[in-house]
């Protein structure tokens, strides 16, 4: 057709991908972390709420070949936090005592200088995951880049000429830098908190560079915490077929790629399309308003098993089967491990899978254009 093909990473982990183009990435499959990671850092991500099974399956709360599960530490910490909360409630009820607005960052607990699994959360606010962690570092919003760069200095034993970075005193940063170097395998999981804060892909650029530098001293890995179902799969297939992971423009007869120019949000914002085909995603609820209104004013076809705000706005809706329930297929886990999806029940009669629907459309297009018959 000479259209543009994009996928949901354009609105979530696109920045991570762009930074990988510039610096690469030191990563792994999740089992590697289960067996070996003793320092697990969640940066701008909240696994307890967003990836509920993550901790017990892959990191701190699971037992690997070389590392034990840290359930005990978790139970202790939860008890402490419960007590804290109760106390603060009492304090709130006591007249005259005011609540502290921004808790000062504490120094690193001794645990971080011993063997065994440790969990650290770095975020702008205290999340549930932060409560679970052995240590929580609260940073000023939009200062992640400065903080990462400061760590990159400190792990080389360079001194900083400032007293604090991102609201954290340099002494604490130095302790954390020591903990980073002294673990036997460390990992940073980063979430949208990092990719969408000020600087976007450059935050990831710096984070990956930090991890790369740390490999001079110990073993360190980094992984994006990806959300959308099988978005990794879309990236993967797009990359092997076209060379590019998302935002691929076929208008000149071959794949071209330049996010910002060929990414769907930017194209819609500039109102350069005259038709849209949406497959199993929901741009109407995720895209900026301008982009959405330009999308729906043109002919819009939606292929989706479920009703979404986008399908409601569509001119044509092609309902399809659920992959992994009514149709088999493959999904790529966030660490790029491909998993087969099974068919459990029969789909309603006559309902095609998304693959079948697209193949039929393609066949018709090729027939009309007299291509590849």
């Amino acid at each position: 057709m000479g259209g543009v093909l994009d996928n949901t990473s354009t609105v979530c982990h696109g920045p991570s991908i762009i930074s990988i183009h510039d610096v690469g990435i030191s990563s792994c499959t999740l089992g590697q972390l289960r067996h070996r990671a003793d320092l697990v850092i969640y940066w701008g991500s909240n696994p307890w709420d967003a990836h509920p099974r993550h901790l017990e399956r892959y990191t701190n709360f699971t037992k690997g070949r070389f590392q034990d599960a840290d359930w005990y530490g978790y139970v202790t910490r939860t008890n402490i936090h419960q007590t804290d909360k109760r106390l603060s409630r009492i304090l709130k009820l006591t007249p005259g005592i005011k609540e502290e607005v921004l808790p000062k960052n504490e120094s690193l607990p001794y645990k971080f200088f011993r063997k065994g699994r440790k969990m650290m959360v770095i975020d702008v606010r205290r999340t549930r995951s932060a409560d679970m962690a052995d240590y929580f570092l609260q940073v000023e919003p939009n200062k992640d880049y400065e903080l990462i760069e400061a760590f990159r200095m400190l792990i080389k034993h360079e001194e900083l000429e400032v007293n604090e970075v991102a609201g954290v005193p340099v002494e604490i940063l130095e302790d954390i830098a020591d903990a980073l170097i002294n673990c036997s395998l460390g990992v940073i999981f980063f979430g949208v908190g990092l990719t969408m804060s000020k600087g976007k892909h450059r935050n990831i650029d710096a984070a990956i560079s930090l991890v790369r530098d740390l490999n001079q001293r110990t073993k360190f890995l980094i992984m994006p915490m990806r959300g959308h179902f099988n978005v990794t799969g879309s990236n993967t297939v797009s990359t092997w077929q076209t060379g590019y992971p998302f935002a691929v423009d076929f208008s000149q007869g071959y794949p071209r790629y330049n996010p910002g120019e060929t990414s769907v949000v930017d194209i819609l914002r500039r109102d350069e399309t005259d038709a849209g085909l949406v497959i199993a995603s929901d741009p109407v609820s995720n895209f900026p308003k301008e982009a959405t209104s330009n999308l729906i004013k043109n002919p819009l076809i939606v292929i989706d098993p479920v009703e979404t705000p986008t399908s409601v706005m569509a001119d044509v809706v092609i309902p399809t089967t659920y992959v992994g329930i009514e149709t088999e297929g493959t999904a790529y886990r966030m660490d790029h491990v491909p998993l087969p999806l099974k068919k459990v029940v029969n789909p309603p009669k006559g309902l095609p899978s998304d693959k079948e629907a697209l193949e039929k459309i393609l066949l018709e297009v090729r027939r009309m254009r007299k291509e590849m018959i």
Partner: protein, 270 residues
């Protein structure tokens, strides 16, 4: 001189990479009219989109655009000679991989001005977008030579992976000017939004206006009264910083002392 005016308002992006002074010399007007260009996913003749006229008795290798050119990309790509004058706003990738000649824009330009350029001059009277003088995604080969002059403001990440040449911005710039820079010079007469010279290896960035803060990975070096950019003297005084130390960089930042009193804390290290 060749003059082009759009026949109508464009909806889809137009790729005009093929229409450069190098390509039009010794070409008749009819040959030029039948140049094939991309309008979105359609391959069309140049004359279907533009009114084209050629003035006699003027030098052969000047191209003049007028009208609304915001959808037009890659004007002057890979040109090595001649002159392109644009009256109006222009789309992205202006002067991409330019090797010589001059482009003058009497209006604004979008992102990627002079990306990967090797020589020549681009002068934009208005504002420009992001990534001026940058490298293509994944590449470390940004602008290597030549000059980009912007009279208005510039966006983020100008001079990204720059390897030489000069970018001169009269107005303000966004964040990350000179990121990953490796040689070359950026002169910002207005303000910078910060994160200046992030991860730079070499090169020189001068800011005559304000900057919210310096990255913690730069170390203060000196205070100088003035500095020079392509032979021209720029009055200070400036704080000078060296970095980005996180990348073992030896790049230099010159930051106005007068406009940035909050940087006084660094003076204790001097």
């Amino acid at each position: 001189m060749l003059t082009l005016t759009p026949r109508q308002e464009f909806k889809v992006p137009i790729d005009l990479g093929c229409l450069i002074p190098d390509a039009i010399i010794k070409k008749s007007i009819d040959e030029i009219r039948s140049f094939r260009i991309w309008e979105g996913n359609r391959n069309v003749h140049l004359e279907t989109l533009f009114k084209i006229s050629k003035e006699a008795n003027t030098i052969d290798d000047t191209i003049h655009f007028t009208g609304d050119l915001r959808k037009i990309r890659r004007i002057g790509a890979k040109m090595s000679r001649g002159k392109i004058v644009i009256d109006g706003d222009v789309g992205s990738r202006l002067g991409e991989e330019m090797k010589g000649g001059t482009i003058i824009v009497n209006g604004d330009a979008d992102s990627w001005v002079g990306s990967m350029m090797r020589n020549g001059i681009i002068e934009v009277k208005g504002d420009i977008g992001d990534y001026a003088g940058a490298a293509y995604r994944g590449s470390t080969k940004g602008m290597k030579g030549g000059k980009i002059i912007v009279h208005g403001n510039a966006g983020n990440e100008i001079g990204c992976f720059m390897r030489g040449g000069v970018i001169n911005v009269d107005g303000n710039v966004g964040i990350y000017a000179g990121i990953h820079m490796n040689k070359g010079t950026i002169f910002i007469q207005g303000n910078s939004e910060g994160r200046l010279g992030a991860q730079m290896l070499q090169g020189k960035i001068v800011v005559s206006g304000k900057i919210p803060s310096i990255l913690p990975t730069f170390t203060v070096d000196n205070i100088v009264k003035k500095t020079k950019i392509s032979g021209e003297e720029i009055a200070g005084p400036f704080y000078t910083f060296i970095g980005d130390v996180a990348d073992n960089g030896r790049g230099k930042l010159y930051i106005s002392q007068t406009h940035n009193p909050h940087l006084k804390q660094y003076e204790k290290f001097l």
